[in-house]
């Protein structure tokens, strides 16, 4: 009891009390031990106890457990806690209090507290002093907290403004890319040729919004139809612009001569004159004589065509690997012409290397053999269905792996 009396004498609130009052309080107040982390009381609860901290520390917290939670202050030995609900008319706790570490407190009931103030009115005056100091400290904390929140808000606003600018830029770029994509797609044939005895199909899947692959059907004199497939080096906008240039040149050159090799040489000459970026293009261009079913083509570094006949026999694509250089590299590329006959029931597939070079997550190529087998397996389907089926097979092979190149196919079937 003596010890409590000595501790009470050290409490600033009780420092002015006479000795007999301290003796009385030491006998009347209940000492309690509190475990670490104990929530002594919660904001908004009805309070009927007042505490004096003898040892340990307690946190005074506003809006506990909410996003706005604020540590108001930490009370230590000699401080008192819980006075607000005893002084306030509604008797509600104005903050929550959580004990840090092991703490020792003196607990006073509302009745004890009221009786003490009646016996010692000067204590109320002392309490007003202490509460004024606390109020000032609280105001300082609130002002500091508001300043900090204001700083964070300003920072968040700046970040939001920057993010919004980036989003606007991105949307603008995406919109421009969409326009570029639409322009590029408008350069491709809108309709498949309608020619007696022949059925045509085509499929193109750019890797990004704009790509470097293209195909074309060019109606020529009489029964002749020009068919082209190409792949410009790189991808994205530069490749798309180079693709547009190549398609335009090809259409112009195709009208000058029926010789596919001469057409490609003409395109090459123009590309070398106009191309300062060191870009190349692989291109297969051929002329289909719809009367004789002969397809005469020249291959500028492009994959050779696949031909599967009605009986399932196929022409070895590797038999045409000689003689065919990329366009855009040399003044006089070495180009040869070859003629295939599309007998009734034959399926001819022209494709870009995006088809055969599609890899799955184990880096396994789709490859030429799978493609050849797929063409022959689906040779009895309509030409567009052949393209669609191969696209499905390539997509299934790729699985979760990303598409790494543009993929394009053109199919011609002789009826």
């Amino acid at each position: 009891m003596k010890e409590i009396e000595q501790v009470l004498a050290q409490v600033p609130l009780f420092a002015s009390l006479p000795h007999d009052e301290l003796e009385y309080l030491a006998a009347a107040l209940r000492p309690i031990q509190v475990e670490p982390g104990t929530l002594l009381f919660r904001e908004g609860e009805c309070g009927d106890h007042f505490y004096v901290v003898l040892a340990g520390q307690a946190q005074v917290i506003k809006a506990l457990g909410t996003p706005e939670e604020l540590l108001f202050s930490v009370r230590g030995p000699g401080d008192f806690i819980g006075e607000m609900s005893l002084l306030g008319r509604d008797g509600l706790r104005t903050a929550s209090v959580r004990v840090l570490g092991h703490a020792r407190l003196l607990e006073m009931t509302r009745g004890d507290f009221d009786a003490l103030l009646q016996r010692q009115p000067a204590l109320a005056y002392e309490m007003v002093h202490l509460l004024t100091a606390r109020l000032k400290s609280s105001q300082d904390n609130i002002v500091h907290d508001l300043q900090e929140k204001n700083r964070q808000l300003t920072q968040a606003y700046e970040e939001l403004k920057n993010a919004q600018t980036q989003i606007i830029e991105k949307e603008k770029l995406e919109s421009e890319l969409e326009v570029a994509h639409n322009i590029q797609m408008s350069l491709l044939p809108r309709w498949l040729p309608q020619v007696a005895d022949f059925d045509f199909g085509a499929q193109i899947a750019p890797m990004s919004a704009v790509g470097g692959d293209f195909y074309d059907f060019i109606p020529l004199d009489g029964q002749m139809l020009g068919i082209a497939i190409g792949d410009v080096s790189g991808h994205g906008v530069p490749a798309a612009l180079f693709m547009a240039l190549t398609v335009t040149l090809l259409r112009a050159e195709a009208c000058r001569t029926c010789s596919p090799a001469e057409v490609l040489r003409g395109v090459n000459r123009q590309l070398l004159n106009l191309n300062n970026e060191g870009m190349f293009v692989t291109l297969l261009y051929g002329v289909l004589n719809c009367a004789t079913h002969e397809f005469t083509y020249a291959r500028a570094g492009h994959e050779p065509p696949i031909l599967c006949r009605a009986d399932g026999e196929w022409l070895d694509p590797d038999s045409d690997l000689e003689c065919g250089q990329l366009l855009g590299l040399f003044n006089n590329p070495l180009l040869c012409e070859r003629t295939l006959t599309l007998a009734p029931g034959s399926t001819l597939l022209l494709y870009t290397d995006g088809v055969t070079e599609t890899t799955n997550s184990q880096s396994e190529l789709f490859g030429g053999e799978r493609l050849l087998a797929a063409v022959c397996a689906h040779r009895n389907s309509p030409a567009q269905a052949v393209c669609k089926r191969i696209w499905e097979l390539v997509t299934a092979h790729r699985g979760d792996a990303p598409q790494r190149d543009d993929i394009t196919m053109v199919c011609a079937q002789a009826g």
Binding site: S233, H302, P304, D318, G324, L329, N331, N332
Partner: protein, 132 residues
């Protein structure tokens, strides 16, 4: 892909790129960048040792073609007439860039794209270096 660079001395100083791994969409830019760096540092004769390359994709072919044009541009005028005259007949080969030890799969790609028509392909590095 990894490129280990070495220097050999034939009739001329030759830079050798020992390439390990595929030259494809993911690696062609690195390949081009290292070649460009070597050319800027003074390389005029480059041998690509492809013994440890299992596949060269179309992007790889374009990267090799790009390196070919860079090397050709460093010696502009030197052999332009011979190139124009002989390339069409398949007689002209680059004096600056040569390929060594491609696998059969890589060789097929080189043939399909016509790269073998302007770049010599050797089976032996020493002989390739001596041929520059």
């Amino acid at each position: 892909m990894e490129i280990i660079m070495s220097q050999r001395q034939g009739r001329v100083p030759v830079t050798v790129f020992h390439v390990k791994g595929d030259i494809n969409t993911e690696t062609y830019e690195q390949f081009q960048a290292q070649a460009q760096q070597a050319i800027q540092a003074g390389t005029r004769y480059l041998a690509l040792d492809l013994a440890e390359v299992s596949y060269v994709s179309s992007y790889g072919i374009r990267a090799i073609s790009q390196v070919f044009t860079w090397l050709r541009d460093t010696s502009q005028g030197e052999d332009a007439q011979a190139l124009d005259r002989d390339l069409k007949d398949g007689k002209w080969k680059s004096p600056h860039l040569k390929l060594v030890n491609p696998s059969s799969q890589v060789r097929r790609v080189l043939t399909t794209t016509g790269v073998d028509m302007f770049l010599e392909i050797h089976d032996d590095l020493q002989r390739a270096v001596a041929s520059f």
